[in-house]
Amino acid sequence: MKVQMRVNGRQVSGEVEGRTLLVTFLRDGQGLTGTHTGCDTSQCGACTVHVDGLQVKSCSMFAAEADGAEVTTIEGMANADGSLSVLQQAFQDHHGLQCGFCTPGMVMAAATLLEQTPEPTEAQVRHHLQGNICRCTGYHNIIKAVMAASGQQVTQVAAE
């Protein structure tokens, strides 16, 4: 069947099977390989994207279900001039990534948190990232990055 959607502001379409996952459509169909697959039980969040403004796991949604939707992936998160967005910049500034594999999902998840909760507490950040597993960072610097991106002083995020 044919699906069409807007991905990162660009109208795209493609032929898919019923079983084609959104992540497969984005990666293989659209070449948007920033969205990753880290598990097959819908738990790791490496595949997180936004569909109609909502954070979803693109491995747990069929491409056909996103027909007509507005999809944003990590490739659509930078500023219009290509520079890093505030959130992306905070990840770099605070060393919120190591191998980078979980990173696109983390950024997509954190972005929706900051939309809903402009000044989250540490506990809120941790709760919101429940479905995003990072094996490298121990989360410490991810938490710092997200809080810094919200404009909070992260030196006050004491290690206690």
């Binding site: 697959t37 880290g38 990534l97 594999f101």
Partner: protein, 788 residues
């Protein structure tokens, strides 16, 4: 001086691509005409394989070919890179490790057949049409049962399930036993170091490609060491000479040891691509990863510590069963032996040590190195038994340690387990950790928790690790079948920019940022003039890759050596142009000057002269500015540190919460503090995972019970606290040019005993003393222990 030289927390340049979705991981690569393989994996642990019916599968839509073990005539088994010699001087038992099950299935997840098809779904559909004819055999799972005379055998051609019985130092055994007889106090502890799955977030991927026009093969793979894979796979498995084989490990999404090893899937994709004249791609699912990535740890140990009347450690002995799984993975035999026994002295002066390790074959996934590899196992038992001794003797665990430390003035210090520590200052890290953790203020926090009905405990652990792996001649004597040097080629371009091609590999460690900081410092240019190339055997010198916290200590040293050669040559060129003698040339801030004069040349003037050699000492010096160095370390490096953990326990549910975690490490000199701190935080989270959450479990039939994230508990954001890290205690390594020790594994080594010591301390303070609880300390276990 460059503003981003050694010691600067330079932001990572690689982050830009990762943060914008431009990383290039192996699964992001799709080759023209690529076919896909699906592996049919055993769902029983132990069986005689009578036959495989593939006809129906082969005729299904899109199927190119179905492979079984009989298709690999002339193909070797996956080699083991380390041979252990047992107590009697005999080599370990070393079974063949075939690409696919040959006649027998030996673990759940073992490859039985492979279907290559036009699409992955077609391959998977067809795999369901394969019919296996097998007779199930009783599975060998428990290690102690496995070494009984009448146990079923994992390998019929071996004499038993014992891979080796290793004694270290065998000559010390009698003296150790005597010391125990003479001891005033003996503390005994039996414990399990739980089996873990490394779980880098990027699952493994392999893509084989074959070029008929020059008969060459390329493998794209998620590896920590592409050159090692090229050597092992080319020379031992497929018989492809290195000049016809290229291995590329592009961006790799974490490794933690499990991406060191050479795996069957890599050899298969390379082999099948040549057979089918099509690229063949395999992407592991997480479910496959659980049953095919080498697992880690899985030791069962009895440790005993002897003390004299003044609480000095007088002897230590241990008995360990180490699980090898069904086959020997690449470095498996070295982990419970040379990476474990040699660390049993820890930070202490214990004069007599004897370590016995029985490595055992079982019907489980092969076990090999996982972050720390052997050193966490050594540290855990040692730091636990010391805590238990302190409790038994009624002394402060910190003070018992302090009393037995190797003192600052005793370095270099030769331990009774064959290694010589070059530098260290264990009291310094202890004091630092006590201060940062506000050890003194614990009583108040304890009272506050108690008032809320909670238990609170504090635990500490020291660690020492042997990093910067490793002196080749030494490891050669110990049975390594490889050298463990590292390499770098430093290419200076005509206009002064530099490309460093390193045999080291970054899969999260940030080489692309930290390595240039070193060169920038040495030459006095900005790091952005230096680019790091890694991960492709076609354009990097033969190197051994990244593991064992060796990148900066060994790879960085190779780069320093190559850069020294560059500087020396550049000085000669400058001397010629400036009409001075080489000895008078100074290089500072990217400028060559003649000592005592105002004559100088810029870095770029000299590099240009090297490639446009008009005014150049051509009779003495070749044009060009490119140097390679292979650095072979003369010793291991010995990072050490003190970790303090503070926990709260909910007595009603048994849930343990980590309230504070402090790490005071001595890594010697530090190149990029930000990156170092990140390594420690990540390692600590993995150690907390081992201590509280993670457990890879089989049932008695050999079925993997923790086979997905539904049952294997990964640390999430809400499970780890903010982690206080400090690396200000620095005793630089004396034998490498940067004075660095390495920091990649420390966090995972020092944290599990700190956590467990804290949990037991909390229970003790609450009047529920328990001698030991095995990891992971789940709420259910704590509750059961408190209500026993």
């Amino acid at each position: 001086m460059p503003k981003d030289g050694i010691g600067a927390s330079t932001k990572r340049r690689e982050d830009i691509r990762f943060l914008t979705g431009k990383g290039r991981y192996t699964d992001d690569i799709n080759l023209h005409g690529q076919a896909y393989v699906h592996f049919l994996r055993a769902d029983v642990a132990h069986a005689t394989l009578n036959g495989i019916e593939t006809q129906d599968a082969a005729s299904m839509p899109g199927v190119l070919r179905v492979f079984t073990a009989t298709d690999f005539d002339g193909v070797g088994g996956l080699p083991c890179g380390w041979q252990i010699t047992d107590r009697k001087g005999q080599p370990m038992q070393e079974p063949k490790h075939p690409i696919m099950a040959e006649g027998k299935i030996r673990h759940v997840g073992e490859i039985v057949a492979a279907v290559v098809a036009e699409t992955l779904d077609q391959a998977r559909d067809a795999a369901e049409a394969i019919v296996l004819d097998y007779d199930e055999l009783p599975a060998v799972i428990d290690m102690k049962a496995a070494v009984q005379e009448d146990a079923p055998r994992v390998h019929d051609d071996l004499t038993s399930n014992l891979c080796y019985d290793w004694g270290f130092v065998e000559e010390n055994k009698a003296a150790v036993d005597e010391a125990f007889l003479a001891a005033d106090h003996v503390t005994t502890l039996e414990l399990v170091n739980n089996r873990l799955v490394a779980n880098p977030m990027e699952p493994r991927v392999a893509i084989g490609d074959y070029a008929a026009h020059d008969d060459s093969s390329t493998l794209y793979t998620t590896s920590q060491n592409p050159h090692v894979i090229r050597l092992l796979m080319g020379a031992f498995v497929l018989g492809i000479p290195e000049h016809k084989l290229r291995v590329v490990a592009p961006d790799v999404g974490g490794g933690f040891g499990t991406k060191i090893f050479h795996y069957a899937e890599e050899a298969f994709c390379t082999f099948a691509a040549k057979q089918l004249k099509r690229p063949v791609k395999w992407t592991s699912t997480r479910s496959e990863a659980f049953m095919s990535d080498a697992h880690g740890r899985d030791h069962v140990t009895k440790i005993q510590l002897a003390l004299d009347a003044e609480n000095n450690f007088t002897a230590l002995r241990t008995d360990t069963y180490a699980n090898m799984g069904a086959y020997l993975s690449t470095f498996a035999p070295s982990v419970p032996t040379w990476l474990h026994g040699t660390l049993m002295a820890g930070n202490y002066r214990t004069p007599l040590i004897y370590v016995n390790v029985k490595a055992v074959f079982t019907n489980t996934v092969p076990v090999d190195a996982y972050r720390g590899a052997g050193r966490p196992e050594a540290t855990f038992q040692l730091e636990r038994v010391i805590d238990k001794a302190a409790r038994e003797l009624g002394v402060d665990p910190a003070e018992l340690r302090r009393q037995n430390f190797i003192r600052k003035d005793q370095f270099p210090y030769a331990t009774p387990v064959a290694v010589e520590y070059d530098t260290g200052d264990y009291e310094a890290t202890l004091n630092k950790a006590l201060e940062l953790s506000d050890y003194a203020g614990f009583a108040n926090r304890h009272a506050e928790s108690q008032a809320r009905g909670k238990l609170r405990g504090i635990g500490l652990a020291h660690y020492i690790e042997a990093c910067g792996i490793a002196p080749s001649n030494l490891v050669g004597q110990l049975g390594a079948r490889a050298g463990l040097y590292e390499s770098a080629t430093v290419r200076v371009n005509a206009t002064g920019g530099i490309v460093v091609m390193t045999g080291s590999h970054s899969h999260g460690q940030g080489h692309e940022t930290s390595f240039p900081q070193v060169i920038a410092q040495m030459i006095g240019i900005e790091p952005d003039q230096v680019e790091i190339v890694h991960g492709d055997t076609a354009n990097t010198p033969m190197g051994m890759g990244t593991y064992g916290s060796r990148s900066i200590a060994v790879g960085g040293s190779a780069m320093v050596r190559a850069t020294e050669k560059i500087i020396s040559k550049a000085k000669k060129i400058a001397a010629h142009i400036l009409e001075a003698s080489d000895a008078d040339i100074e290089l500072k801030d990217g400028k060559f000057s003649v000592a005592g004069t105002d004559k100088s040349l810029n870095w770029g003037d000299v590099t240009l002269a090297a490639y446009v050699p008009h005014n150049y000492p051509l009779t003495d010096l070749e044009p060009g500015l490119e140097e390679t160095a292979f650095y072979d370390p003369s010793n291991f490096t010995y990072p050490s540190g003190c970790y303090i953990c503070e926990v709260e326990i909910d007595p009603d549910t048994g849930k343990v919460t980590i309230e504070r975690f402090t790490a005071a490490d001595d890594f010697g000199n530090v190149i990029n503090p930000m990156i170092v701190e990140g390594q420690v935080q990540g390692g600590v989270a993995q150690g907390i995972g081992q201590a509280l959450l993670e457990n890879c479990t089989y049932d008695s039939e050999g079925q993997l019970l923790s086979a997905s994230y539904m049952d294997y508990a990964m640390p999430r954001a809400s499970d780890v606290p903010m982690i206080t890290v400090d690396h200000s205690c620095q005793t630089p390594c004396t034998h490498n040019p940067l004075g660095v020790k390495g920091c990649g594994e420390a966090g995972a080594i020092g944290s599990p005993p700190a956590v467990i010591n804290a949990v037991l301390d909390a229970m003790h303070r609450a009047g529920k003393p328990v001698a030991h609880i095995d990891m992971p300390v789940t709420p259910a276990k704590v509750w059961a222990a408190m209500n026993a």
